[in-house]
Point group: C2
Chain length 599, copies 2
């Protein structure tokens, strides 16, 4: 494997040189930066400004130049050019690269490193007789080792020289390269799929959410269709949590400084929080977590051993002060709605409660058709008393319980020592998305620290106050924002009917059928099915195609025949055959399917 | 009427003097402030410190002193004392009140008013030979005009002399007084009812919400039972709004400064908003209204005439920076969840849309059994171009439409010229609560200004851009906070079963029936009925009484007989007779009743 890795790395590195060589053939005055390999390919940073033959000051390369550059590169490959390297002296190097200011800059950095830096030898690599580059090596012996059909140039980006905005901005040309054309094609197909499944693209196409400069960065506005999906997910959570014995609470979005001093968020987490708002009675903060508010509710009255476990659930909104430059789509936002709950239980209830939380997680995964996941059990470290709360007996007991239940449940899981939260062991669920992206979605965390910070207690059977109240934090459905991004990618926007923003579209064949179409529409709304009516102002074919682009699960075409039979012609998504069903049967069956979340 | 009003006012004012006289008889060193009449009664401000015969430095009066004071007052009344007034000179006045520093302070204020003030004559009023007060008059001629059984002292409060905290704090003694004992009793009964229905008291007793010092003022935490009620109300709104053709959106709780500059909230409404939070990309504000976010959604894509009306609904949270001292229960809070929606329509759609909003309002009022309400149509003023947006044709048209529909609907309504919002005419609904409190709950407002500020437009039939987009703001169910306070008072906590936090309580007669009780409980949960199980650890009688205090609509007692018959013994709230019903029939019927919101 190591050799394989080296081999493809050498191919990619060599292609970077060939790219630079091809660029210089077309733009002899181009100034070269660096050209390393990256995952799946390579790039080269090049300054084009004022270098075109035409002398035009802003000569720039575009995607349209790629075919020509690739052609040149393939020609160079076909010449079976050898790569060979050798050491050079400082004087020699300066002479070779006298017209390449960035190379001279590198030579200086290698030979006169800043204080504490290490001098580096100067080596140059030659490609046949056509190209010479300052380079540490790592190349194929001969370009004949490169499959000319297994690489492609992909896109351009701007990149400051040595990453500093004080330096000139170069153009970075990216390429992909593999051992075989087949590998390249597979990778391109995967990228294509990722693009199609990109939640930002689908969010626009399906009209789910939008952003607005005046509202601000990282603050999605959920449009009607996105809100429909979001509300379905919330309804699911409320229903399941009800079945699992949770009760719901609803807490304010902010609190005084003192609450976050009690919780320890201040000062330790202040950077992640929004700045405080000074009111006439002190500083208020938007909440970054729901736990402190839930702890306050637990502690708002005395609790008996019989009241436990108490499971407080809330789709709670939390606010995180992320830097504006890091915000992206739904994956990095500044306001999140979390599928949150906190379970307050006695030590002897931890096992049963964790088991139930795990079962709820698995039920969700099954419902959404998620299969590529594994659990990660993060343990504390009894030796590290700084990093982990010092309750050795509780750590030992709880870790044993979690391990036992994970084993018994038969799920894939791995243990990592020393990766737990400060306050207790945790279990994360790691997903591999359809397009190969790894993501931690759900988490279950045990908390030994809250009981002391918030003075949580209960009266035991003998009437004595017991302070061993354990808290389980859990969020199986993550946040609305992250989960929606994940689901969009997972389904490629093709939501199951119960989740689909529009479940049915009614299409009258012609204006003459509008009245009947309205009756069909009303029958659907009556059953609380999310429906739309498409007026017959365009050809049926065009309207069907438009509805298909919206990925609507059921299209009902109604014309003469349907009208007289009080039926609908059903076109189910991804099915070629249409069928005629009575209106009554269709609406009844679909309402049942949706209620049962069968499709 | 005027005479009647004068008469009772004279009685109240005279009682204030008699109260002061009674106080001086017991505490001769008491220092008198002022003793005016108020709605339903009177008060007198008196300094008691260091005035008791015993010489105790902190001598204070308590409620326990009221009977003795009232007795003295009644004795004075029985003496048929005449009231008579006369003018006095400054020197005379100073002499009379030489031991009364607050009176001397008043004398000074009357005779040497601050610059611009008017000198006032000095008059004193004598009650028989027992009491002399500095007073402008307005008394009965003789105490025989006062019904000795138609007044009572009610409570104490602290009050700074002349309202300034730099002055000494006096004790204010409040009294109620009417013409007849019957009137007094009616008023006392009403106060008693108000106390019983006080939402803060019921909120604690029924465990609906709580406040916490660390979380902060004006920020209720909804406990599980309160959240259940809140969610039921929200579910109702979502269902009705769905039926009425609204779509839901979900918008961030904050926005950048620029949004509120566009909307005009900044700078005009800045005082009512939370202070800004400086982020790396500018200042962000918590929203005080949902409208700007909804307008952004409207404007996020092009709209055709066919897309209108667009009805965007959201239980949106808004944040108001109220002074901490003004916050009280749920009626004055700093974070509110509003039953909000904005209807975007063409001019020719205003009529139909307003009609539908009115119909929805009336449907709600009927459902909640609200009868004491009237509508208030607030109109603009064509002459006042400062106070009202200058679109005379739109004002005229819209006001005509609103009036016409209110008339046609047959509801009680009154018009007020010049009381509209800046941006258009509005209709408020004025409620008189069970205990006589007046309250504006719902509002429907037309908005002519938003279209310009947010550049709202649609493509008309001819494909041209039309900027005449009208906005209707409406919130029939007010905010969760205010509406919940209102409902608690309205129902005195006796919620209809569909709203009740706990709908059914299951009570096994003895431990032997626990298994069957659990079966009953599970059957209820299965039907999504909110139920609780009361373990047989106390006598049945005590458990029934506890459940009655919680105002639970249905109690199901299950013992030997019910177990063998698979039935339940139903005790419906406020009904004396219990009855046996099969478990299956009870759960099915109740689920239907709840779904239909029949009780």
């Amino acid at each position: 494997m190591r050799n394989e890795k080296n081999k493809i790395d050498n191919v990619r590195h060599s292609l970077a040189h060939l790219l630079a060589c091809a660029v210089l053939q077309k733009y002899p005055k181009a100034k070269l930066g660096i050209g390393p390999t990256i995952e799946h390919g390579f790039y080269y940073d090049i300054l084009f400004t004022n270098t075109h033959e035409s002398g035009h000051k802003l000569a720039r390369i575009t995607d349209a130049d790629f075919p020509e550059l690739e052609k040149t590169m393939r020609k160079l490959i076909a010449q079976k050019l050898p790569f060979s390297g050798r050491k050079v002296t400082l004087a020699e190097a300066k002479k070779i690269f006298k017209d390449q200011p960035f190379k001279l800059d590198l030579i200086k950095a290698f030979t006169s490193p800043p204080a504490g830096g290490k001098k580096q030898p100067l080596t140059v690599y030659k490609t046949g007789e056509v190209f010479l580059d300052l380079c540490r090596g790592g190349h194929v012996k001969n370009t004949s080792e490169i499959d000319p059909d297994a690489f492609t140039l992909t896109h351009l980006a701007g990149a400051y020289w040595r990453g500093s905005e004080k330096n000139p901005q170069l153009t970075r040309i990216y390429g992909l390269a593999f051992n075989t054309k087949k590998e390249l094609d597979t990778h391109l197909a995967m990228l294509d799929e990722a693009k199609k499944r990109d939640h930002r693209k689908l969010g626009v196409e399906l009209e789910l959410f939008t952003f607005d400069e005046r509202v601000g960065k990282g603050l999605p506005l959920w449009l009607p269709k996105g809100t429909a999906v979001k509300n379905e997910i919330e309804r699911l959570a409320m229903e399941k949590e009800e079945q699992y014995g949770y009760v719901r609470v609803s807490t304010p979005h902010l609190a005084k400084q003192s609450l976050y001093e009690t919780s320890g968020h201040l000062p330790y987490y202040a950077d992640g929080m929004y700045p405080p708002m000074k009111m006439d009675d002190g500083a208020y903060y938007l909440k970054a977590m729901n736990c402190p508010h839930h702890h306050v509710i637990y502690a708002s009255r005395s609790r008996s051993y019989r009241d436990l476990p108490l499971r407080l659930a809330e789709y709670g909104t939390v606010y995180r002060n992320e830097l504006s430059g890091t915000l992206a789509g739904l994956l990095r936002v500044r306001m999140l709605s979390m599928n949150d709950a906190h379970i307050y239980c006695r030590k002897d209830q931890i096992e049963e409660e964790f088991k139930r939380v795990l079962a709820l997680n698995l039920e969700y995964f099954k419902l959404f058709g998620l299969k590529n996941y594994s659990f990660r059990l993060s343990l504390g470290d009894p030796k590290n008393k700084e990093k982990f709360v010092n309750e050795p007996a509780n750590w030992k007991y709880a870790e044993g319980v979690l391990r036992k239940i994970l084993k018994a449940s038969g799920v894939k899981f791995a243990e990592t020592r020393g990766e737990a939260a400060f306050y207790g062991p945790k279990v994360d669920v790691q997903f591999t998305s359809v397009i190969g992206r790894e993501e931690t979605m759900s988490t279950i965390q045990l908390d030994f620290a809250a009981k002391k910070r918030f003075n949580l207690a209960y009266q035991d059977k003998g009437g004595k106050e017991n302070h061993e109240v354990f808290v389980i934090h859990r969020a199986p459905l993550s946040t609305h924002e992250r989960f929606m991004a994940f689901l969009l990618e997972h389904y490629a926007g093709d939501f199951p009917v119960w989740l689909a923003p529009v479940q049915v579209k009614v299409l009258p064949v012609a204006n003459a059928h509008t009245a009947y179409a309205e009756k069909v529409f009303a029958a659907l709304i009556e059953r609380r099915i999310r429906a739309e009516l498409s007026p017959a102002n365009e050809t049926l074919g065009r309207r069907i195609r438009a509805a298909e682009l919206q990925k609507i699960p059921y299209l009902l075409v109604v014309g003469e025949k349907e009208q007289s039979a009080q039926s609908v012609n059903v076109r189910k998504r991804h099915e070629k055959e249409t069928k005629n069903v009575s209106l009554e049967r269709f609406t009844k069956t679909l309402a049942e399917t949706i209620a049962a979340r069968k499709e």
